[in-house]
Amino acid sequence: MNDASRPTLRPKTRLRYDRHRDAFVLLWPERGLLLNRSAGEILERCRGQETLSSIVKALSDEYPQTHRHIIEDHVHRLIHDLCRRGLLTLE
């Protein structure tokens, strides 16, 4: 994983909004993950267009009161976890 990697949700996954829970969910065959707000916002940017560093920058701009390294840490951990679970790849 480096700053130029482009995290991309795997084709088997679908990210959608759950209006009953007011949250995003990540779906794949016979499974689902209810996402908290920040995880949902990160995964919305994991479409293979944005690099890791541009995702961190966009979120830092959106949440200026949160320290950049906290956002960075959060993004890296989520992406690492979902890669390990086969839900995300780094292009």
């Binding site: 795997r10 084709p11 088997k12 679908r14 959608r16 759950d18 009953h20 969910v25 779906l27 794949w28 065959p29 016979e30 689902g32 890669c83 390990r84 679970r85 086969g86």
Partner: protein, 361 residues
């Protein structure tokens, strides 16, 4: 609403060209007309409005419905994650591509064995090569593929070959699903139940492969109830997460619930799906803890296994409220030990009775 369903299992037909001796469909059913395209379309929309996120299109064999592509399109338009659960027979590459283009999110293909001779023997039809072709088309068409193989006495020793085949076919997921002994698998239990040593070895190999393939292929190993010592949370609990609709439109908490005596289930379309889910006698019968035997009601695991599998309890003991006999604290647990002991002593060559179709809607 007390609980909300997340998954709809749509059993589109009980018909199937295969005759697997562990088929989980009921042994017999009423001869009533199957739901038509429009009835399924309305069901998908109603289910989504209640919070359902995924639909499993299954059967029997869903490919036998000539309106399958239309149903996929309807489920997709309703906003559901759409998964086709199929034997892959009969299917052409063109039809698979059409399913994808209509919005199919994923396909789950069953295999019977890695050995063509055994696979065709279990299926009761020479379909192994056709299934491999479907797996290759799925990869070419960039469709996410799950391979599902029901494990039992006769194929459990192939586990390394099964994993290697799944890798070669580029499966994203591999379900190593030990047979659960209900439906036809209960009829054929003597010929299907594995030995403890077989199971242990398979579990070890599956675990090693899961670590080796982490991030590339998801491997699920479903331990059979008979060897677990504790019940599984069947359907994540009765009427908690899952809706099943049978081919003739009966709305059920699990695909065998209508084999239990004394329970009343309702047909889709007779009143709103939400009312059936919330109010029908059958759905409320085993919700909560009041129905439980003392053994369960006072057990710390009741919030983990929700009292186990009602169908298993009934089909083994004759009582719908009995403690699931697979539980080590069940007064009927000796039934499980007797079956396991018989498996340890058996040659593994007991004849299997193939699934027969009677009165098929």
């Amino acid at each position: 609403m007390r609980e909300r369903p997340y998954t709809l299992t749509a059993e589109l037909t009980y018909r199937c060209p295969l005759q697997c001796a562990y088929c989980s469909n009921p042994l017999s059913y009423d001869d009533r007309p199957a739901l038509d395209t429009e009835q399924w379309r309305r069901l998908f929309a109603e289910a989504e409005a209640m919070g359902v996120m995924q639909v499993n299109l299954t059967g029997g064999e869903p490919l036998l419905r000539s309106d399958l592509e239309r149903l996929i399109e309807d489920a997709h338009h309703a906003g559901l994650y759409t998964n086709l659960i199929t034997s892959g027979v009969p299917l052409s590459r063109r039809r698979l591509a059409r399913c994808r283009d209509r919005g199919l999110d994923a396909i789950q293909l069953s295999l019977q064995s890695t050995n063509r001779h055994l696979a065709d023997d279990i299926a009761g039809l020479a379909v192994h090569d056709a299934k491999l072709a479907v797996a290759r088309w799925a990869h070419e068409l960039r469709m996410p593929l799950t391979l599902n193989i029901v494990l039992h006495r006769r194929n459990l020793d192939e586990i390394r070959d099964i994993i290697a085949l799944a890798e070669a076919l580029h499966a994203e997921r591999l379900e190593l699903a030990n047979a659960q002994y209900l439906g036809w698998a209960l009829v054929n239990r003597q010929g299907l139940l594995p030995t403890e040593a077989q199971l242990e070895e398979a579990r070890r190999i599956a675990q090693a492969a899961r670590e080796r393939l982490a991030g590339r292929m998801e491997i699920l190993f479903v331990t059979p109830d008979y060897h677990a010592g504790v019940p599984r949370a069947c359907m994540d609990g009765w009427g908690r997460r899952h809706l099943v609709v049978s081919p003739d439109g009966v709305v059920l908490p699990c695909h065998l619930a209508h084999t239990l005596p004394g329970l009343t289930f309702e047909r889709a379309g007779t009143r709103p799906l939400r009312d059936i889910w919330e109010q029908s006698e059958g759905f409320n019968r085993f919700r909560g803890e009041e129905w439980m035997a003392d053994t369960c009601r006072t057990c710390a695991y009741r919030t983990v296994d929700f009292g186990g599998c009602r169908c298993q309890a009934f089909h083994l003991t004759g009582h719908v409220e009995a403690v699931d006999p697979v539980c080590r604290w069940s007064p009927d647990h000796h039934l499980i030990h007797t079956a396991r002991d018989a498996a340890e002593k058996s040659s593994g060559r007991a004849p299997l009775r193939k699934r027969e179709l009677h009165m098929v809607p």
